[in-house]
Subunit: 457 residues, 2 copies
């Protein structure tokens, strides 16, 4: 089955492909907010219906949380599993969006045409690149080139609580020769990348309580324990002046970077001034003895992602609140154990609070870092296919984010995974005004067609 | 003019008095929130109308903010000025109220009957004790016992921005022999008090900005400056391990307590375990080398009253926010200068932020501490009148809160002030479920009748 007519078909069908993506983007499938439960279900139905149009035996599969969408297409040759997620991040602060996040549109920007809307890049636009490649292949050849299983998740942005149980319960159905995951980015706007190294993550929430009700700081100020102040001391103590995390044992399982990989990274000529300059910053703020690429790709982090307590409205209210709260996350690398890091964090917090304070940890969720098996032959084939499409050598990169699914394919199903995606650093995923370059969408679909061709030839 | 029939009239009229208070409490006059501007104006109209029913020449006087209500009743003898405020605190968190804060009701509790609602104690219930005393006096004797000017403010809970300009512009109209201020509390449920020492206050807000937009912690975490973390370091550094504020010069103008007053305070047998136990605490959290009463009455404080930034909803969002915010207040004593403390705070914050952060201070507002002139003869007369009503010796006390008005009467109008009020520590002012004991309301009105009698005899 020849590749060129498939690529031509993708080109010819691009407007209809964008219409389909917009229909999917209009569904506000925010998985972390219970108010959007029906919308997440609606997105799952939409995905299953679209998979059926590819000839897949597709179904929406209930879980304890949001459903999985699973589809199978039979065929010759290797068995590929494709993974993407159809849920999206919350949209707040809504006032910073210049359009309704769920009324997507194509916009002209100084970096070319983009699709604007929540999920345009993460991950609806990305997962549709693979589906559009399959659609073109079927239209041209009447069938897909090999056996493909689709696994589309609706809880990726809320910590994937149902994923491992679902994989375990359906292991025979899901096991394939390799997993293709489309949820990562390019190295830069012109250089395609395969992500071979991912940071893991632990997410925690601190609920700190002192008095049994909010107090007037005139009556009690100076004598009553203030949970906001206690919380600031706890959080400020999480790192030392050199940017290192202070939790005991935090760096025990953190490896030094492989010299060969470090040499490849150094050759990328990463420009931290440009990287930070795009978001209005200029100074790398991580560990003072590490290179910027190490900071974001191969070193663990401790970050406060949210904090709240007391009076936060207009004007002033002289309250000493009963409670204060924070959301804290750790990015993990190497063999750092999420359970061990979570325990060290909770021990630290419990040890840091005074007698009148109590603490709850209502979240707590972790995944180890991932290191892909680049010896798998799919890696070289995919690298060549990407290099052909983008006319420049594709690179192996690390990634600061966490995609626990890659590790789960290995540990639960014994499968290797190949992470290819076409996102750009300025896509503003998880932020207001998320977008996906039409170039990413179009050449992304073409790239997948080339990779399907390479893996099945 | 004899006192006894006035006291009897207060007793007989108590139900009607409570009805009037409830009508006033139904007006949600939250001065700090612009959404309630019309309601504040409505409360001002209500107050002026009620003063007219006492025979006062009363008017609502516009200011740059919320209006003042001024009323005059001519008469013989000394000229008294009565001050109270008709605005109230915000009501959040609303879900902690067990009834609509602006649908007041009388409730039976294990400490007796109370009026429940926002402003029941602070300050609508308190100011109406004086007005009801006047109403009874006029009903019995046909006229008030002396010349009285009423000054009712609508901005006390939002920092009184218009008060000093209004006093300056209307100095001749407002100047009297002494100011009576009803916005303070009893020493305990059975012991009336005159407040002779008040802390001053500085209120500040920190708006800290790093990146020009919210960032994904997977892409930027470990390298991008995190404003929440920077803010926690700044706030944690405001106090040392012994509870002392670290701002340079903070204690320069803080006097040691007068030995005589300290002896009187020690004789009060203040029980910190009980005081803290009522709100679920047990350990005094202030300066480790000070007594609990010093902590809340005569020592300066630094408190964080609110903090917010990043993702604060359900679940988790791995964001490094662009901004983080905090509201910080300092209670001042002695000769501490609010401008000097504000400047020291801002210098400290500016010196503590890294190169990629910028800071704004959108608030900033201060008042010096107040020390009343207890040599004024009104003090002894009022102490005796209170002791007669409550059948126990009234005491002179300090107060942790700030009532800048007392200082303004002295500095702007050259008048001494007498602070008498009937609030209880468990009134939950500034908190959900605010209440005022009916005993405070009833005996408060009777106390004012006795004080009017004592000051005009």
């Amino acid at each position: 089955m020849s590749l060129d007519p498939v690529l031509s078909r993708i080109d010819a069908d691009i407007d209809a492909s964008l219409e389909r993506l917009m229909a999917l983007l209009r569904i506000p499938s925010i998985s972390t907010d219970p108010a959007y439960k029906e919308d997440v279900a609606r997105a799952a139905d939409w995905m299953a219906e679209d998979l059926r149009s590819l000839g897949a035996d597709a179904s929406v599969r209930p879980t304890a949380g949001h459903p999985m969408v699973v589809g199978h297409v039979d065929g010759p040759g290797p068995h590929l599993l494709f993974y993407g997620h159809y849920d999206v991040q919350p949209v707040d602060p809504l006032e910073l969006w210049h359009r309704d996040p769920f009324d997507p549109a194509i916009e002209d920007t100084d970096k070319g045409r983009v699709m604007r809307g929540r999920g345009a890049s993460d991950d609806k636009g990305q997962l549709m690149t693979f589906i559009e490649a399959c659609r073109a292949w079927k239209a041209v050849h009447g069938a897909l080139p090999c056996k493909i299983t689709f696994l589309l998740e609706g809880e990726e942005e809320s910590g994937s609580p149902s994923l491992v149980p679902f994989m375990e319960e359906n292991a025979d159905e899901l096991r394939a020769d390799i997993a293709l995951i489309c949820d990562t980015g390019m190295y830069d706007a012109d250089t395609p990348a395969i992500t071979t190294q991912l940071r893991g993550m632990v997410t925690e929430q601190i609920d700190l309580t002192c008095a049994n009700r909010d107090l007037h700081s005139g009556l009690y100020g100076g004598m009553a324990a203030n949970p906001i102040y206690i919380l600031t001391k706890i959080l400020a103590g999480l790192k030392d002046d050199s940017g290192r995390c202070t939790l005991p044992g935090f760096y025990d399982d953190v490896p030094e970077l492989d010299p060969e990989l470090k040499a490849q990274w150094d050759s990328l000529n990463f420009d931290p001034a440009q990287f930070l300059g795009e978001v209005g910053l200029s100074h790398p703020a991580g560990e003072s003895d590490r290179t910027p690429l190490e900071m974001i790709w191969s070193r663990p982090t401790a970050e406060v992602n949210g904090i709240w307590g007391g009076y936060t409205g207009e004007g002033f209210k002289t309250v000493i609140p009963s409670q204060a709260h924070a959301k804290v996350s750790f990015r993990l690398v190497g063999q750092q154990d999420p359970d061990k890091i979570s325990a060290a964090f909770r021990d630290y917090v419990r040890g840091a609070i005074p007698p009148d304070a109590s603490v709850d940890f209502p979240l707590g969720k972790g995944a180890m870092a991932g290191h892909m098996n680049t010896d798998h032959p799919a890696y070289e084939k995919a690298r060549d296919a990407l290099s052909d499409e983008w006319n420049t050598q594709a690179v192996f990169v690390g990634m600061g984010g966490s995609i626990p699914i890659a590790g789960h394919f290995k540990t639960v199903l014994g499968m290797d995974a190949l992470l290819v995606g076409y996102g750009n650093k300025d896509d503003q995923i998880h932020s207001p005004n998320e977008k996906y370059n039409l170039r990413s969408f179009h050449k992304g679909a073409r790239s997948w067609a080339r990779i399907l061709d390479a893996l099945t030839r």
